[in-house]
């Protein structure tokens, strides 16, 4: 099927490509179906494109690529809706944003995806992780993990 996107133009996807977020995302509750697209130029980046709204796409990265010490601490109940057979099989993606001068990563609320069931959820992690971790700042913000 075809979907239209503001950033990438019309794209062809298969129905099996769709990742369903049953609750949408915080602030974007109506955006429930997404597809994951590779970035054309940057292999450390991918895009979660909303199927519902052409203008909504989130840049996503693998946390370990940018914050090697990143560990996702999350209550079990947060992951239950994903019906993961094996928690290790969960794909974790960090949403990229920017301020006026820096690229930032939302370490507090990663997207967790069960690729085999095509289910996703934005989880809120425990501990004191920033929603705007400035990329390139000296130390990762993993000072507290209570």
């Amino acid at each position: 099927m075809h979907i239209n996107t503001t950033r990438f133009g019309p794209i062809q996807i298969e129905s099996g490509d769709v990742i369903h977020f049953a609750e949408g995302l915080l602030g974007l509750p109506s955006c429930r179906d997404w597809v994951l697209l590779a970035d054309a130029e940057n292999d450390s980046l991918a895009w979660m494109q909303s199927m519902d709204r052409p203008e909504i796409a989130l840049g996503v990265v693998s946390p370990r690529r940018f914050v090697p010490s990143y560990q996702m601490r999350v209550a079990r109940r947060e992951l239950e809706p994903l019906r993961l057979d094996d928690v290790q099989a969960a794909r974790v993606l960090i949403v990229v944003s920017k301020t006026e001068r820096s690229i930032t990563l939302n370490l507090k609320a990663p997207l967790v995806i069960n690729l085999s069931r095509r289910l996703g959820r934005q989880v809120v992690t425990n501990g004191d992780l920033p929603v705007q971790y400035v990329l390139g700042s000296a130390s990762p913000a993993l000072r507290k993990s209570a």
Binding site: L45, S97, V124
Partner: protein
Amino acid sequence: MLVLSRQRDQSIIIGDNIVITIVDIRGDKVRLGIEAPTEIPVHRREVYDAIQRENLRASQLDPKDTRNLGTQNATGSASPPGS
């Protein structure tokens, strides 16, 4: 807003399946125990608000904003942190 008085170890129930219990009260801090079905997200309000704002901001990101992503990390902190 409905306002109810509760003491320690007392609860309120919302609908059939959400129970909020006053676990502890110390000074100006109250600890709540929340039992809710897993499909009902429970968040601290300020965290919820911050993530909501951040998602909306992130959804405006343009591919050209990310050209240097991945090279930045290797070069260390070339620019000062902050907004």
